[in-house]
Amino acid sequence: MNTHAAPLFVVSKGCFAYRAVNVLQDINLHLTPGQFYGLIGPNGSGKSTLLDLLTATRSLQSGQILFQERPLDGFTKKELAVRIALVPQQFAMGFDFTVADLVLMGRYPHIPRFSNPTVRDLDLVEEAMAVMQIQSLRHRLISDLSGGEKQRVVVARALAQDTEVLVLDEATANLDIHHTIEIMHVIRKLVRDQGRTVIAAIHDLNLAAAFCDQVIVLKEGRIFNTGPVAEVLTSQLIAEVFQVEAEVQAATTSLPQRIHYTLS
C-alpha cells in the first residue's frame, strides 16, 4: 500500500440529514487509491447515503468532500461519470433494452451525444461481458433474465464504464454464493492488477473479511472505526456494532479471516 499517494477522497465533518432526521453526522474519511474498501454496518446505519454522497448523487448539508484534491461539488456530472461508476443493489428497468444495449450505456459518458460508439467502446463492452460471462445473453431482453443474470449485467455495465473508482451498494446481495464469489474475485483483480479503487457496502462480514483491504464501520450515522480488516473486525466490534456474539478466527495462508456467529 502506497501511503504517500495523493488521497482519493477526503471527507471532513460531513453531515447529511433527510427530512430533518440526521442520517450521517461528523463523517471524517481519508481514502487512498488502489484499495478495496468495505463499508459495513447494520441496516439504517447510513451506508447507502454515504455512497450517494461519494458519488455526488446527494450533497452534504455541512462539511466537505474532496475528490482527487478538488471539491466534489466542483466536478460536473460528466466529469464524475468517467471517474466513478456505481453498481446499485436494486435494479428495475423501465423499458426492455437488450443486454448488449444496457452494457453499452456504460460507455455513454465517453461517447459524444450524437456519435456512434468507437471500436474501443465496443471492445470494452465485449470485455466487460466476457468478464461477467454474459456474452451468450447479449440479445436477450433485461426482463427475461433471472435476478442473478440481471445483476451481472449491471456489474458489466459499470465495468464498461471503465472508471478508476467503482462504488458497489450491496451489489451481490441477491446473488448465489457462486456468482457472489466470482464477482468479488473480478473486482479484487481490478484493484490488484489495475490499481483501481473499490468502495463496497457489504452485509456479509465474512465476504468483507475475505476480499477487502480496509473496512469502514458505520453505526447510527457515525463512523465507528476504520482500518485494515484484521485490526478492525474483532469480536468486540461486532458485539458493539451489530449486537451479535461472534468469534473471529485470524487469517491463515490458505484461508481468509473468518467470523463465526454464536447463534444464541
Binding site: D52, T55, A56, T57, K77, K78, L80, A81, V82, I84, A85, L86, P88, Q90, F91, A92, M93, G94, F95, D96, F97, T98, D101, L102, M105, G106, Y108, P109, R113, N116, L141, Q161, V167
Partner: protein, 343 residues
C-alpha cells in the same frame, strides 16, 4: 445513428408524404395524386398551372384541404412524441400526453372561454378558445409541478399523483361550467371531443412553431432518456442530470400537448397507442423511437381525419373516432400482454 434506424425513419417519412398527397386528393371533389403533385409543384415554383387542370383544384388544395391535413399531421405527430416522452420520463408505458392533467387544464380553459359570452364578455371564439385552452394547460402544468416540487427526485409516482389531483379538481370545474352554460353546453361538448374542421394556415404555423422546436429538444435529450430508464441514481452516475432533463422534457412535452389541444380539442389515444406500438416494433431506444413516433402519429391522425372527412357520411368528431378505434385496440394489446406474450 445506425443505418437501420436511418432507413426506418426514411421509410416512415416517405410514407407520411404519400399519405399527405393521397389525403389531399380525397374528398367530395376527387383529385388524382398526380394532379395534386402538379398543383403543389406549380405553387412551389410560383408559376401558373398547365391548362388541362381544373382551375378550382388549386383553391381546394391550398386553401381548404392542405391546411387541415397538415394540421392533422402535426397535431398527431406532436401528441405521439409527447406521449413517448411522458412514457419514458414516468417509466410507465401507459402514460400519455394527458397524464399530468394537461388536457383537463386545456378543457377547463376552453370551456371558460365558451361561457364568457354568457357572462356578457364578448371575445371572438376562434381567438379566445385556443388562447384560454393553452393558458389552462400551462397553469395546470405549473400547479402539478408546484405540488410535486418537494420531492427532490420528481419521482414518477409523485408526478402522476399530482396530475390526478389537479385533473380531478378541474373536472369538477368543467362540470360546473357546463351547468352554467345550460343550453350552450353542446358547444363545449363538441370542442371536448376534438375536431380539425376548418383549420387554417395560421393554425398550421402556430402548431408547427411549438411542435418542431419541441421535437428538436427531445431529440437532443433522447440518449439521456435511455439512461434515465435505469433509474435516477444510476443515471446520475452516468453523467445525466436526471432532474434537470426531466423538467426540460416535461415542459417540452406539455407545451406541445397544450398547443395541440388548443388547436384541435382533446384527441385521445394517439399519444398512448403510437409510442406503445412503435416501442413493441422498434424497441425502446428513444433516439429512434421519438422521431418514429412523430411520423407514426402524423400518419395515424391524418388517416383518421381523412376517414371522417372523406369517407363517413356525416363527419364524426375525430376524438370520438380515435377513441373508438384506439380503445378496443388497446384492450387487445393489454390482453395479449396479460397472456404472457411479449409486447
Amino acid at each position: 445513428m445506425s443505418p437501420k434506424s436511418s432507413l426506418i425513419l426514411l421509410a416512415l417519412s416517405l410514407f407520411l408524404v404519400a399519405a399527405i398527397i393521397l389525403a389531399t386528393g380525397m374528398g367530395f371533389l376527387a383529385i388524382a395524386p398526380l394532379e395534386v403533385i402538379q398543383v403543389l409543384w406549380a405553387k412551389a415554383r410560383g408559376v401558373g398551372l398547365t391548362a388541362d387542370l381544373n382551375p378550382t383544384f388549386p383553391f381546394v388544395i391550398m386553401e381548404v384541404r392542405l391546411p387541415r391535413i397538415l394540421a392533422a399531421a402535426i397535431v398527431g405527430g406532436g401528441l405521439a412524441v409527447a406521449g413517448a416522452v411522458f412514457q419514458a420520463i414516468l417509466l410507465n408505458p401507459l402514460a400519455d400526453p394527458y397524464t399530468l392533467g394537461v388536457s383537463s387544464g386545456a378543457a377547463f380553459g376552453a370551456s371558460l372561454a365558451l361561457v364568457l359570452g354568457i357572462l356578457g364578455i364578448t371575445v371572438p371564439i376562434f381567438v379566445s378558445v385556443p388562447l384560454f385552452a393553452f393558458l389552462g394547460a400551462m397553469a395546470t402544468l405549473g400547479a402539478v409541478f408546484a405540488l410535486a416540487a418537494p420531492d427532490g427526485r420528481l419521482s414518477s409516482n409523485t408526478l402522476i399523483l399530482s396530475g390526478v389531483i389537479v385533473a380531478a379538481i378541474l373536472s369538477a370545474g368543467i362540470g360546473f361550467i357546463k351547468y352554467l352554460a345550460d343550453e350552450q353546453v353542446g358547444v363545449i361538448i363538441f370542442w371536448l371531443m376534438g375536431s380539425l374542421v376548418g383549420k387554417t394556415w395560421h393554425d398550421v404555423a402556430l402548431t408547427a412553431s411549438f411542435v418542431f422546436p419541441g421535437l428538436l429538444v427531445m431529440l437532443y435529450f433522447a440518449r439521456d432518456l435511455n439512461i434515465m430508464s435505469l433509474g435516477g441514481r444510476t443515471a446520475d452516475t452516468l453523467g445525466v442530470d436526471s432532474r434537470r432533463v426531466k423538467k426540460i422534457l416535461l415542459l417540452c412535452a406539455s407545451l406541445i400537448t397544450a398547443i395541440c389541444v388548443s388547436i384541435s380539442g382533446i384527441i385521445g389515444f394517439v399519444g398512448l397507442i403510437v409510442p406503445h406500438l412503435l416501442r413493441m416494433v422498434l424497441g425502446p431506444d428513444n433516439r429512434l423511437l421519438i422521431p418514429a413516433c412523430f411520423f407514426g402519429g402524423a400518419i395515424l391522425l391524418l388517416t383518421a381525419d381523412t376517414i371522417t372527412r372523406a369517407w363517413l357520411p356525416t363527419e364524426l368528431p375525430i376524438g370520438v373516432l380515435t377513441s373508438l378505434i384506439g380503445g378496443p385496440f388497446f384492450c387487445y394489446i393489454f390482453r395479449k400482454k396479460q397472456l404472457g406474450q411479449r409486447v
